[in-house]
C-alpha cells in the first residue's frame, strides 16, 4: 500500500468527522492521560504549530516510519489542526523538498513537514513549519516569505498501539505461543518470587514474599503454607516498593524482604501445611543454581541490591552497579547469567549482547521455555506502570561462547552494528504491572513455564503463569 493512498484515507477520515471538527473543546486532564500516544503526540504538535501562528491554509506533509503509523497520526493531527482553525490540507509528495512547490500550487500559505516514528521507546514527530506565501510582485524569484519559520519537535512515550502500528516486520519465524492464566492471589504486592522443588516430587513449588508474609503454592496454585514475616522485625531503612530475594536450593527456602530486619531459611512441612524455620539470614539470597549461590545486601532505603556480591564459595564479586535481579541458568554450553541493573540497563553473559534500544528491566529472567537447553530472555514492559504491561520472550544471543575466556565482553551500547534479538512472543499482561519473572518446572518432563508476579492497582498481588502451547 502506498503512502499516498494512506494519506488520502487520512484526509477522508478528517472530512468524515465534522462533529469532531466543529466541537472545539480542550480535552480534560483525565482525557489526555487516557488518550493514546498518537493522540497525545498529535495534540502536542498541533499546540506547537498553533503557537507559531502560521497563516492558513496550512499544508501538511507527513512521512511515517510505517504506512499504518503515518496514516493514524495524519488522521489525528489534521483533526487537531482543524480544531485550531488552521485549515489543514494534506500534501502528497515524494520528498519534503518537493512538498513546498506542490503545497504552493494548491493555494496553501504555510507548510508543515513532519516525520513520525519510534525512537528508543518514544513516539517522535519532528520537522519544520515554514511560510510558503509568495508575493505576486516578487516576480519569478519565488523567494521565501519573511514570516517566521519554526522547528517542530515533540515526543511522547510510545504505547502498545503505537508499537503495533509501527511494526511492519514479517512475523518472526520460529516463534512460540504462550497461554497465560491466573495462578494465585496474594493480599499484597509481591516483593520476590521463586520456584523450586520443595517436596522432592520432581515438580517445582512456587514461593512468593510480600512485605508481611511468605507463601508457598503447589504446582497447581494451591496454597500450601503461609507465614507472617513481621516477627522478623522492621528494617531500619525500608524501601518504598516491596522488594526482596528468594532462592530455593536443596528443598530449603532462603529469603529476605527489604521491609524486614533479617531474612530467614525455611523448610516446607507439606503434611502440616506450615513452614519450619531453620535459621535467620543477614544476607539476601540473590540467586542459586546447582551448587552455586550468590548473596548480596540491600542498598539502604532503595529497591536494589548493592553491587558487591558474594558467591557461596566465599569469593567476592563486584558488578558495575546496584542491581534489581540476577538470574542464573545452567545451559548445555555453560553458565549463563542475566543481570538487570538499577540504572535501567541489563547485562547478559556471552559473546553477543542486547542491542541498543532493547529495554528490559526489573523483571528479566533467563528461562528455557522451549526445552532446548538454552535459555530465552523473558522480560516485561520497560515502562513505569505500563497500561497494559506486557510479557516478551526474546531469543538469547545465539553466539554465546562456551566459556568466558572465549567470549570477551562486548558493550552493546557502543557496538556499531548491534545484533537484533529475535522476538519470539509478546502479549499484554492483564490486571496490573509485572515486576518479577521466574521460570518454574511445574509439569514433569515439560519445559519450564513462566511465573509472573503482578501488582494490581488495588494493592493486592497476583501470580500469573504462562505456558508454551502448540501453535
Amino acid at each position: 500500500m502506498s503512502f499516498r493512498r494512506a494519506w488520502a484515507a487520512a484526509c477522508a477520515a478528517v472530512a468524515l468527522g465534522p462533529a469532531a471538527l466543529f466541537a472545539v473543546r480542550s480535552p480534560s486532564a483525565e482525557e489526555t492521560e487516557r488518550s493514546s500516544a498518537l493522540a497525545r503526540l498529535a495534540q502536542r504538535i498541533a499546540g506547537q504549530v498553533s503557537a507559531a501562528s502560521p497563516e492558513p491554509p496550512l499544508a501538511v506533509h507527513l512521512a511515517g516510519e510505517s504506512t499504518d503509523l503515518g496514516r493514524g497520526f495524519a488522521t489525528l493531527l489534521l483533526s487537531e489542526l482543524a480544531l485550531r482553525k488552521l485549515g489543514p490540507t494534506a500534501v502528497s509528495a515524494p520528498s519534503p523538498e518537493a512538498a513546498e512547490a506542490i503545497a504552493r500550487e494548491g493555494g496553501a500559505r504555510s507548510l508543515l513537514r513532519l516525520s513520525v516514528g519510534l525512537n528508543r521507546g518514544d513516539l517522535q514527530a519532528k520537522g519544520d513549519l515554514i511560510s510558503i506565501w509568495v508575493n505576486f510582485w516578487s516576480g519569478r524569484a519565488n523567494g521565501r516569505s519573511n514570516r517566521a519559520a519554526a522547528v517542530i519537535f515533540a515526543a511522547v512515550e510510545a504505547d502498545a498501539q503505537a508499537l503495533a502500528m509501527a511494526s511492519e516486520l514479517p512475523a518472526p519465524t520460529g516463534g512460540i505461543k504462550l497461554e497465560g492464566a491466573r495462578f494465585a492471589d496474594l493480599p499484597q504486592w509481591t516483593a520476590a518470587i521463586a520456584a523450586g522443588d520443595l517436596d522432592g516430587d520432581g515438580r517445582d513449588e512456587v514461593v512468593a514474599i510480600t512485605n508481611d508474609e511468605i507463601f508457598a503454592f503447589s504446582p497447581e496454585g494451591r496454597l500450601l503454607a503461609r507465614r507472617d514475616l513481621r516477627p522478623l522485625g522492621d528494617s531500619a531503612t525500608p524501601c518504598r516498593e516491596p522488594f526482596g530475594a528468594i532462592s530455593i536450593q536443596s528443598q530449603r527456602i532462603a529469603y529476605f524482604s527489604a521491609a524486614r530486619r533479617q531474612g530467614e531459611i525455611l523448610a516446607l512441612d507439606v503434611a502440616r501445611g506450615a513452614f519450619r524455620s531453620l535459621g535467620s539470614l543477614n544476607e539476601a539470597p540473590l540467586a542459586a543454581q546447582g551448587e552455586t549461590q550468590v548473596w548480596g545486601s540491600f542498598v539502604p532505603g532503595r529497591s536494589a541490591f548493592a553491587s558487591d556480591l558474594r558467591l557461596g564459595s566465599g569469593e567476592a564479586w563486584s558488578v558495575r552497579g546496584p542491581l534489581w535481579t540476577l538470574s542464573l541458568f545452567a545451559a548445555s554450553k555453560g553458565p549463563r547469567s542475566l543481570i538487570a541493573f538499577a540504572d535501567g540497563t541489563a547485562s547478559w553473559f556471552g559473546g553477543v549482547g542486547i542491542p541498543r534500544g532493547r529495554q528490559f528491566r526489573s523483571s528479566a529472567a533467563a528461562i528455557d521455555i522451549d526445552g532446548d537447553g538454552e535459555p530465552q530472555i523473558v522480560t516485561t514492559s520497560s515502562r513505569y506502570r505500563a497500561e497494559p504491561d506486557e510479557l516478551r520472550v526474546l531469543e538469547s544471543p545465539a553466539n554465546d561462547g562456551p566459556a568466558p575466556a572465549a567470549s570477551p565482553a562486548v558493550d552493546g551500547g557502543t557496538d556499531d552494528v548491534p545484533l537484533q534479538l529475535h522476538e519470539r512472543w509478546r502479549e499484554p499482561i492483564r490486571g496490573g504491572w509485572a515486576l518479577q519473572v521466574v521460570g518454574a518446572h511445574l509439569m514433569p518432563g515439560k519445559p519450564a513455564q513462566i511465573v509472573v508476579g503482578v501488582w494490581r492497582p488495588d494493592g493486592s498481588g497476583e501470580l500469573q503463569i504462562f505456558r508454551k502451547v502448540s501453535r
Binding site: S26, A29, E30, T32, E33, D234, P238, C239, R240, E241, Q289, V294, P300, G301, R302, S303, A304, L311, G312, S313, E315, W317, R320, P335, S337, A342, G344, T345, A346, S347, W348, F349, G350, G351, G353, I354, R356, G357, Q359, F360, R361, S362, T380, S382, R383, Y384, A386, D389, A403, P404, A405, P408, V410, D411, G412, G413, A434, L435, D458, G459
Partner: protein, 465 residues
C-alpha cells in the same frame, strides 16, 4: 555446574548497556524543586490546614496513618490500628522511630499531640475528630505502655481510625524545643532544603532532596517555566496534573445570630450568588458550596433566592478573615459590598490564622470566614462542620446514631441526611470548597494525591534528563 567455572564466568560477565529511557521501577535520586504559592506553614498541624500548608507540613510530620488514593488506611507511625471491639481501638506504634531531636516516638507524644486540639489555648475545630474518645483525647493516658495506646470509645464510631489519619493530628514531640515530627523528609544542613529520611517507615522518598520556594502564583508559574521548579503547588491544575483533587478545604461564613440578626441568612441568600462568588474570586480548583458538606461528600442542594428582608438591617458588623488566604480577602470584600446594599455596615478585619482560631474559640466575633480541611468521610466531616458552627454540644446527639451503623455506605448516607437537615439551624453559611492545585513538569513522574487530596510527594520521582 562447576562452581569455580561459574564464578569465573560471572566475574567476567559481559555487560551490555541498554538505554535508560524508562523503567518499570521508580527511579531514586535527584532534587525535587517545588514552588508553593503561599507562605511557609504554621508549625502547629491544626493551623497548617490549608491543602498546600498540610502538604508541606506533612513532609516532616506524619500522622499515625495516612489514607491512600483509594482512602484505605495505611499505618505510618503506627504499625497497627485495629479494633477488636466496637468500643475499643488499639494503636501500636512502630518501635525504633525517632524524632529529629533524637527522642524516641512514644505513646506520650501521640497523646500530647492530640490533646492540644482540645486545650483552651489552642482550641481547634479538629477536636471533633476525637470526640468519641474520653475528653476528646485530653483524658487519654499513655501510662500503660510506651508503644501501645488503648483507645476506649464513648460510643461506636467506626470512622475513628480513618480520622486519626487527618493531617491536623500529626504527631509532634511532647517535649523539647523542636516541634518537628517524623515524615518522609527531614531537615538538611542547607536552609530551605529537606533530605530524604532513610528511616521513614513507608520507605524513604524516591528523591534525595526537596527544596520548597514560597512565592505567589505568578512566581510559581515563572519558576516552573524557567525549569527552576518541577512542581507548582497552589496553582490551578494543568493538563498534566493528576486526577482531579477532591475539594475538601471548605470555607464557611460563620455568624453570631445575636449580633448579625435573625434574618442575616435571608439577607445573604438574597444578595449573594455563591456560583459567581466562587467563579470570580476563588482560584481554581474550587466549587461553590450550597450544602453543609462540599460536593466531594454530598450532592449540593439547590438554593432558592429569597426576597431581601423587609426592613433594612442598619447593623454595623465586623468580618474577620484569614489574611494568609488571598481569596478570603477578595470574598470578604465582595460580601462587604453586596451586604452594604442591604444596609449592613461591615468592617473587614484580617487576622492571622492563629488569631482567627482564637477568636472563633472565644466566640468573640460578628462574622467570620472559617476554612477547614474536612476528612473524606461524611461522618467525621459533619462533626467538624458542627464544631465550626459552634455547636459542639450537638455532637453528643448527632454522632452516636451515625456511628451505630456498621456499613460505610449507611453511615455516609445518614451523615449526609443529617447535614441536610441541620444546615438551616446552624449559624453558618457554606461558601465554597477548594482543592490543592498543582502543575507538574514533564520530568516529574508518579505524582499522585492521597485520600485526603494532598500531593504525596514522597511517591514522586524524577525522570532522567
Amino acid at each position: 555446574m562447576n562452581r569455580a567455572r561459574l564464578a569465573a564466568a560471572l566475574a567476567a560477565s559481559a555487560l551490555f548497556a541498554t538505554e535508560a529511557l524508562a523503567s518499570s521501577r521508580a527511579r531514586y535520586g535527584g532534587t525535587l524543586r517545588a514552588a508553593v504559592a503561599g507562605r511557609p506553614p504554621e508549625v502547629d498541624p491544626a493551623l497548617a490546614d490549608s491543602p498546600w500548608d498540610a502538604t508541606i507540613l506533612s513532609l516532616t510530620a506524619s500522622a499515625a496513618c495516612r489514607l491512600d488514593e483509594a482512602r484505605r488506611i495505611r499505618p505510618v507511625l503506627a504499625s497497627e490500628i485495629s479494633s477488636q471491639e466496637p468500643l475499643k481501638l488499639r494503636l501500636a506504634l512502630r518501635p525504633g522511630l525517632k524524632f529529629d531531636n533524637g527522642t524516641a516516638l512514644s505513646a506520650k507524644d501521640v497523646v500530647a499531640s492530640w490533646s492540644r486540639l482540645g486545650q483552651p489555648g489552642s482550641l481547634s475545630p479538629y477536636r471533633a475528630l476525637l470526640f468519641p474518645l474520653p475528653g476528646e483525647g485530653r483524658r487519654l493516658s499513655a501510662a500503660g505502655s510506651a508503644q501501645n495506646l488503648e483507645l476506649p470509645l464513648a460510643f461506636p464510631w467506626p470512622d475513628l481510625a480513618a480520622s486519626l489519619c487527618h493531617p491536623s493530628l500529626a504527631i509532634q514531640p511532647a517535649s523539647g524545643s523542636s516541634r518537628r515530627g517524623i515524615g518522609p523528609f527531614k531537615a538538611s544542613s542547607l536552609p530551605g532544603e529537606l533530605e530524604a529520611n532513610l528511616a521513614f517507615p513507608l520507605g524513604r522518598p524516591f528523591v534525595d532532596r526537596l527544596t520548597v520556594a514560597f512565592t505567589d502564583q505568578r512566581g510559581a508559574a515563572r519558576l516552573l517555566s524557567l525549569r527552576q521548579a518541577q512542581l507548582a503547588i497552589g496553582d490551578a491544575a494543568s493538563s498534566n496534573a493528576p486526577r482531579p483533587s477532591p475539594g475538601l478545604f471548605s470555607t464557611y461564613l460563620v455568624f453570631q445570630v445575636d449580633r448579625a440578626g435573625a434574618d442575616f441568612r435571608q439577607a445573604f441568600e438574597a444578595t449573594i450568588d455563591r456560583d459567581d462568588l466562587t467563579r470570580f474570586f476563588v482560584p481554581a480548583p474550587s466549587w461553590p458550596m450550597h450544602s453543609l458538606l462540599p460536593p466531594a461528600l454530598m450532592a449540593q442542594e439547590p438554593v432558592s433566592r429569597p426576597a431581601p428582608p423587609a426592613r433594612p438591617s442598619g447593623r454595623s458588623l465586623s468580618l474577620m478573615f484569614d489574611q494568609s488566604l488571598p481569596e478570603q480577602r477578595l470574598v470578604a470584600e465582595r460580601l462587604q459590598v453586596r451586604l452594604h446594599d442591604l444596609k449592613y455596615a461591615i468592617a473587614l478585619k484580617p487576622l492571622s490564622r492563629a488569631q482567627l482560631r482564637a477568636a472563633w474559640a472565644s466566640g468573640n466575633f460578628d462574622l467570620m470566614l472559617q476554612a477547614v480541611l474536612l476528612p473524606p468521610f461524611a461522618g467525621p466531616a459533619l462533626a467538624i462542620a458542627l464544631e465550626v458552627a459552634g455547636r459542639h454540644e450537638m455532637l453528643a446527639a448527632e454522632l452516636p446514631p451515625i456511628g451505630a451503623l456498621p456499613e460505610d455506605a449507611e453511615r455516609q448516607k445518614a451523615a449526609v441526611n443529617r447535614a441536610r437537615a441541620l444546615l438551616p439551624s446552624l449559624p453558618l453559611i457554606p461558601l465554597y470548597a477548594q482543592a490543592v492545585g498543582a502543575v507538574v513538569s514533564e520530568d516529574l513522574a508518579a505524582f499522585a494525591l492521597d485520600g485526603q487530596g494532598l500531593p504525596a510527594l514522597d511517591d514522586a520521582f524524577l525522570l532522567p534528563e
